[in-house]
Symmetry: C2
Subunit: 280 residues, 2 copies
């Protein structure tokens, strides 16, 4: 998906919301968990049983309820890999379901990969060819080598970690390079090898002053902003200080939407929370 | 596997070699590639066909030929994920084959994961519970949060990227923190939350002066050293300047062993190269 199509979708839906599909079986409603013990179900000829069945049914319900209120979904790979091959099959089915039923949606693999060039090329192949994601999150520690293979695909995106939202984010991201904090050096140097049409940054900043600082040297790129909802940040403040005239923001909420309710009504409640999160 | 068992194996085999199982279908011998078009084969009741069949047969042959000459195998996840679900099944079968037939071997998932605490916990579950690896490589960009969940497993290891061997390694790894290069800050701060019994570092240093510098502030931890063989470094120099009295080194070679020969004799040639690499 290109930048114009993404911005068109933001304007049409009046939303900058990205829903993080961080499926955690233990946190699912009881009636969805129960499916894991209840035989099997088919999706496009593939059989799903056990936890994989619950994951697929949970995701389908969440997606159907929230697709009108968000522009992107972001499965975090860890939450599928931890269920082994069955978890990866459930991820494939989820991606296929979204692609088939909601083709306007921007799909992010939150994988935080990062490896030497010939290996990064294989990861790009995995997420852009074997699976049909629009974007992959990438850790910058190994430098430009680990990012460039992702930039060679038309209308696909690298989303590089700049400033994350976790407690130990500043432990290394605030190291200094040429008198600047590392997160700024990462962003500026990644901007040199890319364009705002194929590079976004993960920016876990929900405060006005930090967003203004980042927009000062990076006015055009999309920021993927975690840390609203369950992690406490305000989407309104992020939009007020982080948006630009091409949209410029994907605001992620995961647990705050997925697990807002634990009853049979969970999808409806997820829709209500989604409709109120990161709307314009 | 604990540190003593690893050191015992190094002494028994007189080797510090880790073989990187970076399977690349396109580089395999023709007769192994041909298996992808030749029906199917079973491994423990699971059916493998297509490229997955070639990968499993290639790995079994390489492992049988080299297990006497190495102490560790290190599949890089990218080279399996790029073949989708079938690639991950081939990885599972490879891990099972090594675990069953060569239980003394140290098994590293070269995954370079790194995410916030609740997500890192899921990755630890994936590699230590769902799969049976001894160790996982981890990117430190997000700080201590992303490493601690891996340290909570007895006799399992986190292998944190410190100084890598790729061309753009120094782009960010040489940023400064408290007057020290970032790679040193990473190592020292990771040493504070771990012990030499559950923490190793990726150190892509094959020169005497750099190895001496690193051993100056990190005398006890194992270093996983890439960059010998195809990438040009000398295992002899690494051993001379990087070993300590508990072994202290796993020296990786991937392509230089796997693809040393492209004929029906590939496994025998791989064994000969392995026997001469990182031996004591």
């Amino acid at each position: 998906m290109n930048r114009k199509e993404l911005f068109d979708q933001i304007q049409a839906k009046k939303s900058m919301l990205c829903v993080g599909l961080d499926v955690d079986f233990d946190k699912m409603p009881e009636h969805i968990k129960a499916l894991a013990l209840d035989g099997e179900a088919a999706y496009k000829g593939e059989i799903f049983k056990g936890k994989a069945r619950s994951i697929v049914e949970f995701n389908k319900a969440i997606v159907d309820a929230t697709a009108a209120h968000c522009v992107a979904y972001k499965p975090n790979l860890a939450f599928y890999e931890c269920y082994g091959i069955d978890g990866m099959r459930a991820l494939d089915a989820t991606v296929d379901y979204i692609r088939t039923k909601y083709p306007e949606i921007f799909l992010i693999a939150d994988a935080k990969r990062g490896d030497i060039g010939n290996t990064a090329k294989m990861y790009a192949k995995a997420f852009f060819e074997e699976m049909d994601f629009d974007a992959v999150t990438i850790a910058p520690y190994m430098g430009a080598d680990s990012v460039t293979p992702f930039l060679e695909y038309k209308d696909k995106w690298a989303i590089v970690l700049a400033l994350t939202s976790n407690a130990s984010a500043y432990q290394f991201q605030n190291a200094q390079k040429d008198g600047k904090p590392l997160y700024q050096a990462v962003m500026e140097e990644m901007m040199e090898i890319s364009t705002p049409d194929n590079m976004m940054f993960v920016v876990g900043a929900t405060k006005a002053d930090k967003l203004q600082e980042l927009r000062g040297f990076c006015p055009d790129n999309f920021f993927l902003v975690p840390g609203v909802g369950a992690q406490g940040g305000s989407a309104e403040e992020v939009i007020a200080h982080g948006a630009n005239d091409h949209g410029g923001l994907l605001i992620n909420s995961s647990r705050g939407i997925l697990f807002a309710d634990h009853t049979e009504n969970f999808a409806q409640v997820a829709a209500e929370v989604a409709a109120k999160t990161a709307n314009l």
